[in-house]
């Protein structure tokens, strides 16, 4: 499989009065064509800002991508002018968001919101765009698509709105779809349907997906590979099966330990003590040192590198050097 997106040493920092917050601090990963990559981590780990950096939509003022490369289909997106980015966003890279209830414009009809993308990027006429919109709505599961077209978002449920968002995102046949917590705000029953739909569509349109989530169930459902983020860095990169069978990084282990399992009888779920440190207060050494049960002297002062431990599996931890892990 060829590589679609390559993110190298991405650094997106937020600047406030005499403070620099390294929210994304040297992130590397790649996405292959047709593959679904999950980015997992707690709130504040930098996963959403990583995705917004790819889109060039880092919140302003304050946020800025200061270093790195985002090579998408052969071009470095960070080198593109804003004018050139307008042609990439929504066209080649599309995004869906966490809050379907508020992500659609309340004063424009569903039809207007889908067709405007087609008219803008694909230079379709109003009529063609309308036809295509009906088609798309049918694909995402609206039986009476024509009627939905003239409805306003407030008439639809959360699950339906997320379907509309997906239809909108897929309208220009993007090569990459970034889904930022697409199911977090939905009912559990609807979550499964939306995940199923995304899986179907990515196969149908042959697009890659970056799935951002903190829900490991969603990861298991949809992803091929996973990167685990912590404190603005990638701490582990691995295949989906390997993550669940044998997580390498202590943080990944902690995350998996906090998921209930059906075949185990436990009184309490284990949890990782403490919180993600805030970006202005990252530890000097390993970012996870404050919460790690294996923390060593070395971890306090030196930052471990992200190293390939097994073929295709990387981890950022000194334990692997010591042979302490397995």
């Amino acid at each position: 499989m060829s590589t679609l997106l390559q993110v190298k040493n991405l650094k997106t920092h937020f600047f406030s009065k005499n403070k620099v917050l390294p929210v994304v601090d040297g992130v590397d990963f790649e996405v292959k064509k047709g593959e679904t990559l999950a980015i997992v981590g707690e709130s504040g780990s930098g996963k959403s800002i990583t995705s917004l950096s790819i889109m060039g939509l880092v919140p302003k003022p304050g946020g800025k991508t200061v270093d790195g490369e985002i090579i998408f289909d052969g071009t470095d997106l960070l080198q593109l002018s804003e004018n050139e980015m307008f042609k990439v966003r929504g066209n080649e890279i599309a995004m869906i968001f966490q809050e379907p209830m508020t992500s659609l414009n309340p004063v424009l009809t569903i039809g207007e919101q889908i067709t405007e993308v087609l008219i803008y990027h694909k230079k379709m006429s109003k009529k063609e765009a309308r036809q295509k919109a009906v088609e798309l709505l049918k694909i995402v599961g609206f039986a009476r698509a024509e009627e939905i077209l003239d409805d306003y978002p407030h008439r639809l449920s959360g699950g339906m709105r997320q379907r509309v968002m997906i239809a909108m995102a897929m309208s220009c046949d993007p090569k990459l779809l970034i889904a930022d917590e697409p199911t977090t705000a939905l009912d559990v029953t609807v979550q499964a349907q939306i995940l199923e739909l995304m899986k179907e569509l990515s196969e149908k349109f042959d697009s890659s997906i970056i799935l951002i989530t903190h829900d490991l169930g969603v990861v298991a459902e949809l992803a091929d590979r996973v990167i685990v983020m912590y404190g603005g860095q990638v701490v582990e990169e691995t295949g989906i099966v390997e993550l669940f069978d044998n997580p390498l990084h202590p943080y990944s282990k902690g995350l998996l330990g906090s998921v209930p399992k059906l075949d185990e009888e436990k009184e309490r779920l284990s949890s990782i003590g403490g919180n993600v440190p805030s970006p202005d207060n990252f530890p000097k050494g390993c970012r996870f040192v404050t919460r790690c049960e294996h923390a060593m002297e070395k971890c306090l002062t030196e930052q471990p590198e992200l190293k390939e431990i097994y073929p295709g599996r990387k981890s950022r931890c000194f334990l692997h050097d010591e042979g302490g892990n397995e």
Binding site: L57, K87, R89, G90, L104, N105, P106, V107
Partner: protein, 315 residues
């Protein structure tokens, strides 16, 4: 929607009735009599009494009110005490002048306030934002009459660019340019305060809107910032401003009282001031009721516009 509008129109009747009672009572309680201002100090007390009797001013207040109201219901607003003209004709003569002034200054307020409010919000904390904010506070704080006087001093007296007052050059044939020439200063003065307020409201409303998720969605679609703000943002941002606008409509009458006086603009406002000084009760009442109708209608229009702009609202 139609039933809603009809219901609202019917509801206007008791409201206007209440306003008429209160205004009549306040006017009646105010000191002074219509005859006091009448011409010659040598007129005998008996003649004055006869005049009072003839105008029905010696009747008890509630009888006076009932007499007035029964005529108003028939569409007759009475005859001016001082001008001896039917009040309806007097208002009809002057209404166009006031409407022109109002409409012109409203348009002026909107075309200045909304773009500057939007710019101020999208470039929050920039020099432009501070500039707009400062200017709008200055506009809010400046009294109309003072600003009017200063502008007259500068543009009419010193520079001689604009006429000092009136709607048109006396004795000249009708010309649009001449009318506009006379209109420009009073319209600016009348628009200032509302312009300032409207700018602030637009700014705060748009600041709220640009933080919304659907704006991020629009950006993620690859739209240019102008499309994002004006197509996706502004329509949402305008919804709360509509209320303000509905409330603004009647304040133009209040504002025009001062501005028309200042620029000797022969409109309703000037008529109102003159009538008040002369205790010309029928004229005062007619204009007060006109303002009341405008207020109620302004609110109704605002409510209707709500439903037009925001599909979530249905009546």
């Amino acid at each position: 929607m139609t039933t809603y509008i009809i219901r609202r129109l019917i509801m206007m009747i008791p409201i206007l009735f209440g306003i008429s009672v209160i205004s009549f009572a306040i006017m009646y309680a105010a000191p002074g009599k219509p005859t006091v201002m009448d011409l010659d100090p040598d007129i005998s007390v008996e003649a004055r009494e006869a005049q009072m009797e003839r105008l029905g001013l010696n009747d008890p207040p509630h009888i006076q009110y009932i007499n007035w109201m029964s005529n108003v219901v028939k569409g007759d607003f009475g005859t001016s005490f001082t001008k001896k003209q039917p009040v309806r004709d007097m208002i009809a003569d002057r209404l166009p002048n006031t409407l022109i002034l109002m409409i012109f200054s409203t348009i002026l307020a909107i075309i200045v306030a909304i773009p500057f409010g939007v710019l101020s919000a999208t470039k929050q904390y920039s020099k432009l934002d501070y500039g707009v904010t400062m200017t709008s506070f200055l506009g809010l704080a400046t009294p109309n009459f003072w600003l009017g006087l200063m502008l007259i001093m500068l543009f009419s007296v010193q520079l001689g660019w604009t006429p000092v007052g009136g709607v048109s050059t006396l004795g000249a044939d009708f010309s649009l340019l001449d009318r506009l020439h006379h209109l420009i200063l009073p319209a600016i003065v009348l628009a200032t305060a509302d312009m300032a307020g409207l700018t602030r409201y637009t700014r705060s409303s748009m600041l709220e809107v640009v933080k919304q998720d659907y704006i991020r969605t629009a950006r993620a679609k690859g739209f240019r910032e102008s499309t994002v703000i004006y197509k996706h943002g502004l329509r949402n941002g305008l919804i709360p401003i509509i209320t303000i606008f509905g409330l603004m409509l009647p304040t133009f009458i209040g504002g025009s009282v001062i501005v028309e006086q200042l620029f000797s603009w022969p409109g309703i406002g000037k008529l109102f001031i003159d009538a008040t000084f002369e205790r010309d009760y029928p004229v005062i009442m007619a204009i007060t009721m006109f303002g009341a109708v405008l207020t109620v209608i302004g609110n109704l229009i605002a409510d209707i516009l709500y439903a037009v702009l925001d599909p979530r609202i249905e009546y």
